[in-house]
Structure formats: C-alpha cells, structure tokens
Symmetry: C2
C-alpha cells in the first residue's frame, strides 16, 4: 500500500490550478470530468504522489457538500492497492466501515472505494486500483 | 519539491496508532515529543511518504485548537525542500503568506515553516528541510 494522491476540495478549479502551479512550481498534467462523482478534477505530479484538486459540478456532488460544511481544504487521502476487493475484505475483517464496498469508477482510470471516516480518525480514506490491473 | 508527510490530528495517539497499524498493515516506526509544537507524534512509512499522527500535549497546542474547531482529520500537508529559506523567498515573491517565515524545529530532525492556509485553498502547507542538510 502506498499513497497515490491527496485530494483537495476547491471552489474554483481555474483559480486553484494557478495557486498550485505557483506553489509546486509546475502545471497540472491532466484535467478531467468524473461524471459519477460530479466533479471536475486536475492532477499535479509531485514526486511519486499526485495532488488532485476537485471542484463540484453539481449541488449534490460530494465536494459541494464538503465545501458547504467545512470550506476548502484537504478532502481525502488515497492509497494505491493492487487488488481492491482483497483490501476491502482485509479491512472489513479488521472492523473498518466503508462508504461503498463495491469498487466504482474514479478519476485517472481507477477503480475506487471509500472507507467511512468514522473508522479512520475522521480521515476520508480512498483505496484505488488501476483499471488495467483489474482481474 | 516532493511530499514528505501528511499530518493527521488525533485525540489519542495510542488508539489511533492501532487504527493506522491495521489500515496500513504496519507499525509506526517512531514516536516522539515535539516540545515547541506541544505535540506527541508517531510516524508510519508508506512507500516514500510518511503519515504523521499528532496528539496535543497542552490545551494551547495548535493541534488542540484544531480539534476544538474541526474534529479529528487531516491537519497538514508537508513538502520536503532542499533549502527552506530559498523556498520561503520564492513563495513570498509569488504572494504566499506564512504563519512563520523563520524556520523552526519540527519533528523528525527537520526545520519547518508553515504557509498560511488562506494562501493555499485552506490547506495548511508545511515546508520541511532535513537539519543535516542545512547551510
């Protein structure tokens, strides 16, 4: 298990892309829509880890709900795993709760699940697996 | 610039160490007190990045104030830099604000500064440099 990315909720992706370009000294290498999550995202590569900025594209997006409650800031922490269903089973066996146990489509060609923050000290933890490695 | 660690504010380090041991499938490799920040911390190595859990050791610790306001969760995102004062100057030139511009002692033998979250989309960004590399 290694850290794949850190997700940051933002109000305006264009504005925030400029902030993070200056901070990190480089441009986002990719921008995409994730229809299932109702978000528009950009990715910055920082060493082996990515910083993902997320803007809501609808009022009922998870990011819109987060911003309404907590304002802009770090939203989730994502770990890359080789076999997502095996990790779900392992963590369920250890008593962790999930927001979704069935892997769904995420950004960047990934299958993703989220653990419930009540299990993980208030941290929204994502597990993600490359789709190409699925099977 | 690369991600050095992700700091997570917790109420009880002993309890949270157990949670993250299960989540990450490994034990914390280090625990220490950071007197200047009034915190007790533990570190987990996850690939090239560390997860740092922080418990307040006094009511006026920054972590105690964070927990009072926001509950447990991700507290800061730390980037490793080679020359911290050069990075401070670069980022000041780009209009970023700092909580402290003069590097101070952090955990894990580091010199650290914090950017003001108002500059960085609500994310508390730390820059850190190995003390041994200072000069």
């Amino acid at each position: 298990m290694k850290i794949e990315h850190i997700g940051i909720a933002v109000e305006d992706l264009t504005v925030s892309n400029q902030i993070f370009e200056k901070l990190l000294g480089k441009e986002a290498y990719k921008q995409e829509m994730v229809a299932g999550e109702k978000v528009k995202v950009s990715f910055f590569q920082v060493g082996d880890v990515k910083v993902e900025l997320l803007q809501a594209t609808a009022h009922d997006s998870p990011i819109a709900r987060f911003l309404a409650q907590k304002k802009e800031g770090i939203h989730h922490l994502a770990f890359a795993v080789e076999n997502i269903q095996e990790e779900v089973e392992r963590l369920k066996g250890d008593g962790f709760a999930f927001l979704n146990e069935e892997a769904k489509d995420g950004a960047d060609n990934k299958l993703i699940v989220f653990l419930h923050p009540k299990s993980t000290n208030g941290v929204l933890v994502e597990l993600c697996q490359d789709k190409n490695a699925y099977g």
